[in-house]
């Protein structure tokens, strides 16, 4: 918790408000201002295992239609991207982004020895582990650890949710979860809480009570900061009133501010469509499509679209064959979307999955998701991806 003298002097106008905070906490009262062109990553988690084959549709593949006599989306229904590829009918805005050159689709992303249980596969994606190893930290959490040795900067990564995901938990640093800045601010702006934090012994131990005090201290001092930032340039753009719409609106307002946040995280679900898939996926995609469309329009209007990368993923795809209940069961490899004005490669980034070459009825992965993480960490967040992922993964070219 060493703080350099210079950082103390930077405290400025916030000094009064933070008089009662322990010294080590004052560090993030005045974080470094965002450099121009600051790259921001927005991670969109499609929880429950989105059916990738009904998202990016192989509209000329007989195997697909044979495996899905009821669920298959016809060429006529699908939104046309190429002669071979269609998009789910609800994803109209993403189709426009595709033709606009702002969408990249990476097919057959997965990992060796895929796990078909939701939470385990989600753990693997969050922790960037192999399927036979167990890590208790997440890849963004370890990014925070690496970014900020010896100081706490929970605002470098924010999750728009009530609960913090494993992906956002590091060994030392943890991101901050909040539904919206005002609520966080009002709930933590209590004199008693600030006083308690100020008087708690600072020799942070490993006991649960130390963990609680640390969380409390971080919250109290971050809440102020985030709230103020969120009010600097709140977006005036129209967003849909859905959960994801509200979250992306909050994110946009923070992106337009001077906040030091590099990573935003949000989830949409549930895509676990064992039963009644058609209606469920359509409903979720309709919300997702409207929110992303508004977000991109807003970013473009504020000239920030080149600096923002929105990336979607799901813990797994689904079986090629439909099941008997109008749904699909847990599968393996899946596609990922990349939305940004700063893509180096756009469109369909690699071939569609080969439906003639399956493993027990499931897709074979062609790209390890850790290659994607390495690419994003290295080329977008400009950090040492090997240190965070534990080994070297080849970088892709879309960034």
């Amino acid at each position: 918790m060493l703080i350099k003298r210079k950082q103390f002097i930077q405290l400025g106008s916030l000094a009064t408000a933070s008089m009662m905070l322990p010294k080590f906490l004052k560090a993030f009262e005045q974080p470094a201002l965002v450099p121009p062109g600051n790259k921001v990553l927005v991670i969109l988690q499609l929880s429950g295992g989105n059916d990738g084959l009904n998202t990016v549709i192989p509209i000329r593949n007989d195997i697909y239609y044979k495996a899905r006599p009821k669920l298959g989306i016809t060429k006529e229904q699908a939104l046309t991207l190429t002669d071979e590829v269609g998009l789910h009918p609800a994803l109209t805005g993403l189709k426009d982004l595709y033709h606009d050159g702002s969408l990249g689709i990476l097919n057959s992303v997965g990992y060796p020895n895929p796990d078909r249980s939701h939470f385990r596969s989600m753990d693997i994606w969050h922790s960037a582990s192999n399927s036979n190893e167990y890590l208790y930290t997440g890849w963004i959490g370890r990014y925070l650890d690496a970014q900020c040795k010896g100081c706490d900067k929970p605002t470098q990564a924010l999750e728009l949710d009530d609960v913090l995901s494993l992906a956002m938990k590091g060994e030392q640093a943890k991101a901050l979860a909040m539904k919206d800045p005002r609520r966080l601010y009002s709930s933590s702006n209590e004199k008693y809480f600030k006083d308690m934090v100020a008087h708690h012994a600072q020799d942070a131990g490993e006991r649960p009570v130390d963990y609680l005090y640390k969380t409390m201290a971080e919250t109290v001092s971050s809440a102020d900061y985030i709230y103020k930032q969120s009010r600097l340039h709140p977006t005036k753009a129209e967003y849909p009133k859905s959960d994801i719409g509200n979250s992306l609106k909050t994110i946009a307002s923070l992106i337009f501010s001077d906040i030091n946040t590099k990573v935003y995280y949000l989830s949409l679900g549930s895509f676990d469509t064992h039963v009644g898939q058609e209606g469920q996926q359509k409903r979720l995609f309709t919300d997702m499509n409207a929110a992303i469309t508004a977000f991109v329009k807003d970013l473009k209007a504020n000239n920030r679209f080149e600096d923002v990368l929105l990336m979607s993923f799901s813990e797994f795809g689904r079986r090629v064959k439909q099941n008997a209940s109008g749904g699909t069961d847990h599968g393996t490899a899946n596609n990922m979307f990349f939305v940004s004005g700063g893509l180096k490669e756009k469109g369909i980034l690699n071939p569609l999955p080969d439906l003639a070459d399956l493993q027990d009825g499931d897709l074979k992965y062609k790209v390890d998701f850790k290659n994607v993480y390495a690419t994003v960490l290295n080329k977008w967040l400009q950090t040492d991806d090997r240190a965070i992922l534990g080994k070297s993964f080849e970088h892709l070219n879309f960034l």
Binding site: D162, P208, V209, T215, V275
Partner: protein, 482 residues
């Protein structure tokens, strides 16, 4: 740190139940630990009463009896929508009724154990009849035989529907149930292969539940072929597979480990778990015996096992209500607390249940936890909205939350019986009052900073001192632990 009898008794009451009740504050330091253990087990010896909150129209439907005027007419979409809405409302009633049991019942051990199993056999299901049936299975067998519990849960309509076993048919196997029964209910990951799951799924084909919530075996959907599960060959059905799972020593180990983490310490002592698991297996899965072993073990009362468990949101809410007897005019605000804090009963995040421990704590949940006592004391407004969940709400989100304040938030509207509470401290001299209240409410070894506390305590009168000291102590990080 010296572990006093009072600390021991409170430790037991927090772990085997939901913390001490105001009525018993005076005997916490005098009654023997053994007498507390004995009375906990004695109180939970009797079976629980069935909690039935389902609207009669739903029950009528399930029994195939239509209401007057609708005889033999199928329900139209609007009627079905109303039925679903009714079911969701009834699940809220089930939640609040069970919560009241946790607060008021003498069967503290049974209800605590039931809460554990509620997370272990996690099932999201929007049918009130199925939910209250599963809750009954869990509460009845909470301290019984784990094999019986496993079999009854596996055949419950709630679990069969949640894990899609109605769709598990001979020619279209659905592996969901087979996977979770091994991964989460019995052995844990890494102790079976993908092939074991595929084979076990075949054995469970034909297991289903009808609309009335009864288990049915659909013979023509059952795969009668030979299966190989965990190295055993045979023409297995579902029961046979459950028997095979129970025969595995690993099942006893897995269950014991999970119980140890929940009731003793998140950090497992492998010697203790090995000893407990051996005895659980020997006893043919007698849960009561396991819990007795734990609560009578000397190591259970080691300083290192005390005051280090982060209370779950339900434990926190129930614990506050036991310590501070109160009438809640706006009972439904407890549902809002549960949602905001991440533990809404009957809506576990997934089949793995609530992860617990430090996962309960994020910045916003911690701050809300510490504001709850003040909200109760001030009857202040809570203007926070939980994350939308279409499963539960259907546009009826706030229908129950009637006490809306000026700012559009919720008012807790609690009438605390301070008289009873204050009386419990009548023999304590003023200078020792803060210490006495603190040691009754807090289980962590280090006391809360009294200099800070005193700044926020109203010392105007003895009564106000007790009230405000209690509220402030409950609003600390320390109070989140037990």
């Amino acid at each position: 740190m010296k572990v006093t009898t009072q600390v021991k008794n409170q430790h037991l009451l927090w772990r085997a139940g939901f913390g001490p009740m105001a009525e018993e504050f005076h005997q916490l330091s005098t009654a023997s630990n053994k007498s507390y253990i004995d009375s906990l087990f004695k109180a939970s010896a009797k079976g629980p009463e069935y909690i039935d909150v389902a609207h009669s129209a739903l029950k009528g439907l399930a029994m195939g009896v239509r209401e007057v005027g609708q005889a033999n007419k199928p329900l139209d979409e609007e009627q079905r929508r109303k039925m679903r809405q009714q079911s969701r409302e009834d699940i809220k009633s089930l939640n609040l009724t069970w919560l009241n049991q946790m607060v008021n019942s003498h069967q503290q051990l049974r209800e605590k154990m039931a809460l554990f199993w509620h997370g272990h056999f996690a099932s999201r299901n929007l049918n009130i009849l199925y939910q209250q049936q599963l809750l009954d299975v869990i509460r009845r067998n909470a301290l019984g035989n784990f094999g019986d519990l496993l079999r009854e849960v596996s055949k419950s309509a709630a679990m069969i529907n949640f894990l899609n076993n109605n769709q598990n048919r001979k020619n279209h196997p659905n592996e969901n149930f087979a996977r979770e029964v091994m991964e989460l209910f019995t052995m844990g990951r890494g102790n079976y292969t993908e092939n074991d799951i595929k084979e076990a799924a075949r054995a469970f084909t034909g297991w289903g539940a009808n609309i009335a919530g009864e288990f049915v075996f659909r013979k023509n959907q059952h795969d009668t072929g030979i299966k190989t599960v965990l190295g055993r060959n045979g023409n297995f059905d579902g029961d046979a597979v459950l028997d095979i799972l129970l025969e595995q020593q690993q099942t006893a180990t897995f269950i014991t480990q999970k119980i140890y983490r929940y009731f003793v310490n998140e950090t497992v002592n492998t010697d203790h778990v090995a000893w407990l698991a051996g005895r659980l297996y020997q006893s043919n899965y007698n849960i009561k015996g396991l819990m007795h072993d734990i609560f009578t073990s000397e190591w259970f009362y080691d300083a290192g096992n005390i005051g280090n468990r982060i209370k779950s949101p339900v434990e926190l809410i129930v614990g506050i209500r036991r310590a501070l007897p109160m009438q809640l005019e706006n009972e439904s605000i407890q549902l809002l607390f549960q949602r905001l804090l991440g533990q809404l009963l009957f809506y576990p995040p997934n089949v793995a249940g609530w992860p617990g421990g430090r996962n309960w704590i994020d910045s916003s949940s911690l701050m809300l936890r510490m504001r709850i006592p003040q909200l109760i004391y001030d009857n202040d407004e809570l203007a926070m909205k939980p994350k939308d969940d279409d499963d539960q709400m259907m546009g009826m989100r706030d229908a129950r939350l009637k006490k809306t304040g000026k700012k559009g938030g919720q008012i807790i509207a609690a009438a605390v019986d301070w008289e009873l509470y204050i009386k419990k401290f009548e023999k304590v001299p003023r200078e020792k009052l803060l210490g006495a209240i603190s040691s009754t409410l807090i289980q962590t070894p280090n006391a809360i900073n009294t200099a800070v506390l005193n700044k926020y305590i109203d010392a105007g009168s003895r009564d106000n001192f007790i009230k405000t000291a209690t509220i402030q102590i409950m609003s600390t990080p320390e109070y989140q632990l037990c």
